[in-house]
């Protein structure tokens, strides 16, 4: 009961905050603040003259709101959405707005409405914040930090008001809209709101157009260096198109900006001298190797940051390996195996990224359920990239078995920034070279060192 009350109060405060932020302009919010301040200061009309400010601001706001009631427009609008977006990369699409009124409309603003913006009561009740145990008992009971964390997690995209061009009577205009996707997965866009500030520029009248749309937001991807996995030739059922070979070419491809972790020998000194910033040489791979990818989704601690980074690393491999003349067409995500044997085209990359965009942590099954799934398909593997969330005995066993059957491996373990190094090198037969620990906040550098 108390939890529900807390949830309702957080939710109502959030709704009011959202309403204020959307309905009032910056000047309007300042006037609102002034109204509140003058109400407090001018409570006793004999002590100060702040009550005169209060009544003036109050009249001003009332007139603003009243004028919005009478000034409304009629519009139609629809979005032209792309299929994909990427986390934390600004995404631009276009919206077509039609003015249905016989009057020219100026100074209009466009607001996007996200569906499913706030966490449900069940989510609030059952999803603890990652660091909740470290919080004091009061914070744990009240759950405000949990609410903040959940709302930030649920927020699909950062939205801002977009100014619309002048709309002639009955005319139609196309306006670009930029949003910033904040989390991977499907981003559901709800109705569109066309706002018009009142004459004072304090309050906005809204016309909401019911429409909907969806964009699949792909995980964040990191640039990867050429991966050198020692592969073995195996019979490929797909024929020559899927034949795997191993090797590197020294053919010069291009130069690019230095990225942290690039080897010194690749620096192009002359270009550095010319450009004034470090430039490195890139070489063309000549052959491709067929890789499989194992993404570990078995997590019980709810450390979303580690999981999200693991998904990003997996997505980086999926999108990069194809372009490096290698082939990645077998993917183990959680308890599922996905196999794409459509050849060397890039069509299945989209599909794989879609799967990665929607992957959720598996909290109810142990890592060992992945073990038989992978071992069944070892005959198909010529090289394997494993992205792991931890480095415990279960995971070590899988890696050991894969090594045992001679599958060349690249093991990446995502860990927190200050996590200690694994103490396994002495007793285990695993080669330390194949196991890389990538630390949160330094993933890019870690990948560049591969």
């Amino acid at each position: 009961m108390a939890r529900r009350l807390l949830y309702l109060s957080f939710r109502s405060v959030d709704t009011v905050k959202q309403w204020l932020a959307r309905r009032f302009t910056k000047a309007g919010l300042l006037v609102l603040g002034g109204l509140a301040a003058s109400a407090v200061v001018g409570l006793d009309t004999n002590q100060t003259t702040a009550y005169q400010i209060f009544t003036f601001l109050f009249a001003l706001l009332l007139l603003s709101i009243a004028s919005c009631i009478f000034v409304r427009g009629r519009y139609e609008a629809h979005r032209k959405l792309p299929r994909f977006g990427t986390v934390l990369e600004p995404l631009t699409y276009r919206i077509v707005v039609q003015n249905k009124a016989p009057k020219r409309q100026t100074g209009l603003l466009l607001l996007e409405n996200l569906e499913d913006r706030l966490p449900s009561f069940n989510e609030f009740l059952k999803t603890p914040e990652p660091l909740e145990r470290a919080r004091n008992p009061f914070d744990r009971v009240i759950g405000y930090h949990r609410w903040l964390w959940l709302t930030s997690r649920k927020l699909g995209a950062g939205l801002s008001e977009q100014p619309l061009p002048v709309l002639p009577p009955g005319g139609e205009m196309e306006a670009p809209v930029e949003i910033l996707p904040l989390k991977r997965g499907p981003l559901r866009l709800g109705s569109l709101t066309i706002a018009r500030p009142d004459p004072f520029g304090l309050y906005k009248s809204f016309v909401t157009i019911p429409t909907s749309g969806s964009i699949l937001v792909l995980p964040k991807r990191y640039p990867l260096p050429p991966i050198q996995l020692p592969g073995t030739r195996r019979h490929q059922p797909g024929g020559v198109a899927l034949a795997s070979s191993v090797g590197d070419s020294e053919e010069f491809l291009s130069v690019r900006d230095y990225r942290p972790g690039d080897p010194l020998r690749k620096i192009h000194w002359k270009n550095w001298a010319k450009a004034g910033r470090p430039i490195v040489k890139e070489y063309q791979d000549e052959f491709f190797v067929r890789h499989a990818l194992i993404l570990d989704t078995f997590q019980h601690t709810g450390q979303t940051e580690i999981f999200e980074e693991a998904v990003s690393i997996a997505a980086s491999f999926v999108s990069t390996i194809q372009t490096q003349e290698s082939l990645l067409d077998l993917m183990f995500v959680g308890t599922e195996a996905y196999c794409f044997t459509s050849g060397r085209g890039l069509a299945h990359t989209d599909r794989m990224l879609e799967i990665l965009a929607s992957v959720r942590p598996c909290t109810d099954k142990p890592f060992s359920t992945l073990h038989p799934l992978v071992m069944e398909r070892t005959s198909l593997l010529s090289g394997c990239v494993c992205v792991l969330l931890a480095w415990d005995e279960e995971r070590k066993t899988l890696i050991r078995h894969l090594k045992g059957v001679g599958v060349p491996l690249l093991v990446l373990v995502v860990a927190e920034d200050k996590a200690p190094e694994p103490p396994d090198s002495a007793e285990s037969p695993l080669e330390a070279d194949d196991i890389h620990r990538l630390h949160i906040g330094k993933i890019k550098e870690g990948l560049a060192e591969l």
């Binding site: 301040a37 200061v41 006793d44 003259t49 003036f56 009249a59 100026t106 018009r196 004459p199 520029g201």
Partner: protein, 675 residues
């Protein structure tokens, strides 16, 4: 969003003008507006801004301590508010002279600074504080509390200037100006109204509080407002209602208590022990003194607090009838207290003004203190009343007060004289009834006529809603009691102008209040006199009739809504009988008789199938039965005949208990038919 040129300077000048620091404000304005001309810019880091903000914070604290020590808590806050533009000035100056012309938000919030330390790479948020500073300057100007129309004009002009800058460009400037002027006028009317509202609320709250704290008069002591400074404000609240017998003239004085000793603006009742009064056999009639031959009557209705109260009685009251209380006490000075009564009492008083039941005059009724005698005696001497017969003395004193004195509710300072009564009699010659009554008593005593000080109410306002008088709080009155011709008589010397003076202080909402009071009174009468108040019951019936009609209508309307469902149900019931006379039910009945129970959830077909009855070619009959039962078209007469015959045949086949091989439990075996 930077503020338009000169606006910030104008706001600072306005603040300086209102706060009396115009030169300081002019300097500050010059520095700020100078940034538009001077190209010199600093490049402060976020931590520099934090340091400046800390400096402002320290300044704020020092100022608060200073104001708190010198002015106290409330004034300290207002004083601080007034100086906020000066305290925050370094921060704004740093911003306007910085290259970015914005400042790091973390400078203003400790939480952001802490967050920044934890996540140094997170994007910094900047803020432009020019507009908030502008708002602060205007708000601070209000703390100076300079109450001239220029303040509002200044606020309006500065706000309009700022709003013009952020206006919505889709509207014409004329429309904008019209709307702004309208907002200005509305704001002006609003603040005038708000100020008056506060005044009215304060006055009302004081009145309510006084009323809440009001107690029944103390028959032993009363403290007068003699010597107080200010003005007397009494409310319009109706305290009780009086219905006199026809022909009785107003104003009528109804006494609550009487006192015999005056000391330092207070009257005391010495030797005034209360004694119990026993009721007559009917329990509601109380004789408080010996009956007189001729009597006048008066009916008073008043509320009792927790069943207790002091009765309002005219001089010469000897009998109180229809008073439903359990206890009554009376003191020798005529004060009558009742206890254990209902919330509202209506009692009838019989009185004769020419008799008196109060205790005979004693020595105390002639006492004047030396300090009072010093100024009373010369006045008595001047009036030449020292050797006059009592009737003449009364006339002389009455005309003295009527001619040379003025009634006033304003309480003036006694001035150089220490005694306020002396000031009243010698200097100011104006005051309220307590002055007149006290002065009269003392003057009478100075010439050897026994006199007392009486408090109560003057009945003077006729009610427009009933046949009678209403008595309000502001009709409270004080007068003298004089003992002449062997009886105590009321002697009121307060100039008659007091009626109109009191009337002037009444509230404009009086009619509304009076109506409410009347309705409450009627309700209370019904409430406390249930069964005895025929007239009230009559009104109540008139009130209840529409209420009952309304309820009946609601009830009826409700049943109208519910009725269709009921009708539908009945129709369905009738419809459900279709096919109910099917002969097939005879088979069901027979099978049940033999122990083949049909489960509630089972259809006829599944039941037949379960008990293996299908072996007996029952299906065609069942099909006809189903059609008879559920087909809207029904079945033909031939089909009905087939059903009838088929059922008859089958019934004959199963006319005795059937063999149920392999099964003992009812309804689970199979039917194999006649052996």
């Amino acid at each position: 969003m930077r503020s338009p040129p000169l606006l910030l300077g104008a706001a600072l000048l306005f603040w300086g003008w209102q706060s009396g620091v115009l030169f300081l404000a002019a300097g500050m304005a010059l520095i700020l507006e100078g940034s538009r001309l001077i190209r010199f810019r600093l490049n402060p880091s976020p931590s520099d801004f934090s340091r400046i903000a800390d400096l402002c914070g320290i300044g704020l604290l020092v100022l608060f301590i200073y104001f708190y020590a010198s002015k106290g808590s409330t004034r300290a806050i207002l004083g601080l508010l007034q100086w906020l533009p000066l305290v925050c000035f370094p921060l704004l100056a740093a911003q306007v002279y910085s290259t970015l012309e914005k400042m790091d938000m973390a400078a203003l919030f400790w939480t952001l600074r802490r967050k920044r330390k934890e996540k140094p790479l997170e994007q910094r948020r900047s803020i432009d504080i020019t507009f908030p500073y502008l708002a602060l300057s205007i708000l601070s100007a209000s703390a100076a509390n300079v109450r001239t129309p220029w303040f509002y004009a200044g606020v309006f002009s500065l706000a309009a200037w700022a709003l013009w800058h952020v206006r919505s460009r889709g509207f014409s400037p004329v429309f904008w100006i019209t709307l702004s002027v309208f907002a200005g006028i509305a704001g002006y009317a609003g603040h005038v109204g708000l100020h008056h509202l506060q005044g009215a609320l304060e006055s009302k709250a004081t009145e309510w509080f006084t009323e809440f704290m009001r107690k029944d008069p103390d028959p032993y002591r009363v403290t007068t407002a003699i010597g107080d400074v200010g003005s007397l404000k009494l409310s319009d609240r109706i305290l009780f209602r009086v219905v006199p017998q026809p022909g009785l003239n107003s104003p009528l004085l109804l006494r609550e208590a009487c006192y015999n000793l005056y000391r330092s603006s207070s009257w005391f009742a010495l030797h005034s022990e209360f004694r119990k009064v026993e009721p007559e056999p009917d329990g509601t009639t109380w004789k408080i003194s010996a009956a007189a031959d001729s009597a006048k009557t008066l009916r008073v209705s008043e509320y009792l607090r927790q069943g207790k109260g002091v009765l309002k009685l005219p001089g010469g009251a000897f009998e109180i009838a229809e008073l439903p209380v359990l206890k009554m006490v009376k003191n020798p000075f005529g004060a009558v207290k009742v206890q254990e009564g209902p919330g509202l009492i209506t009692y009838q008083i019989r009185f004769n003004p020419h008799i008196s039941s109060d205790s005979p005059p004693g020595e105390t009724d002639l006492v004047i203190s030396e300090s009072e005698r010093a100024f009373i005696s010369p006045i008595a001497w001047d009036l030449q009343i020292t050797s006059m017969p009592p009737q003449e003395v009364l006339k002389k004193i009455y005309s003295f007060f009527q001619v040379k004195f003025k009634y006033s509710l304003v309480l003036n300072s006694p001035g150089q004289t220490a005694n306020p009564l002396e000031s009243f009699l010698v200097t100011s010659r104006e005051g309220h009834c307590e002055y007149f009554a006290t002065a009269t008593v003392l003057l009478l005593r100075s010439v050897g006529i026994p006199a007392r000080y009486a408090t109560g109410y003057s009945v003077q306002e006729r009610s427009g809603m009933e046949n009678g008088f209403i008595v309000r709080t502001r009709h409270a009155h004080a007068w003298a009691l004089v003992h002449i011709e062997g009886a105590w008589r009321d002697f009121d010397t307060t100039p008659s102008s007091w009626f109109s003076a009191e009337e002037k202080s009444s509230s404009p909402l009086k009619p509304v209040y009076d109506l409410w009071s009347f309705l409450t009174f009627k309700f209370s009468r019904w409430h406390w006199n249930e069964g005895r108040e025929g007239a009230s019951m009559k009104y109540l019936v008139w009130f209840l009739i529409p209420l009952i009609l309304l309820l009946a209508r609601r009830f009826f309307a409700g049943s109208l809504v519910r009725n269709p469902g009921r009708v539908k149900k009945e129709i369905l019931k009738v419809e459900s009988r279709a096919g109910a006379d099917s002969e097939f039910y005879l088979i069901e009945k027979r099978l049940l008789q033999w122990g083949y129970e049909r489960y509630p959830w089972e259809t006829m077909a599944t039941w037949i199938e379960r008990i293996k009855m299908d072996a007996m070619h029952i299906e065609p009959l069942l099909r006809i039965h189903y059609r008879y039962r559920f087909d809207p078209k029904g079945i033909t007469a031939t089909e009905k005949e087939i059903l009838k015959t088929g059922v008859q045949t089958l019934l004959e086949d199963i006319s005795h208990p059937l063999e149920r091989p392999g099964e003992n439990s009812a309804g689970t075996g199979s039917l194999v038919g006649k052996p």
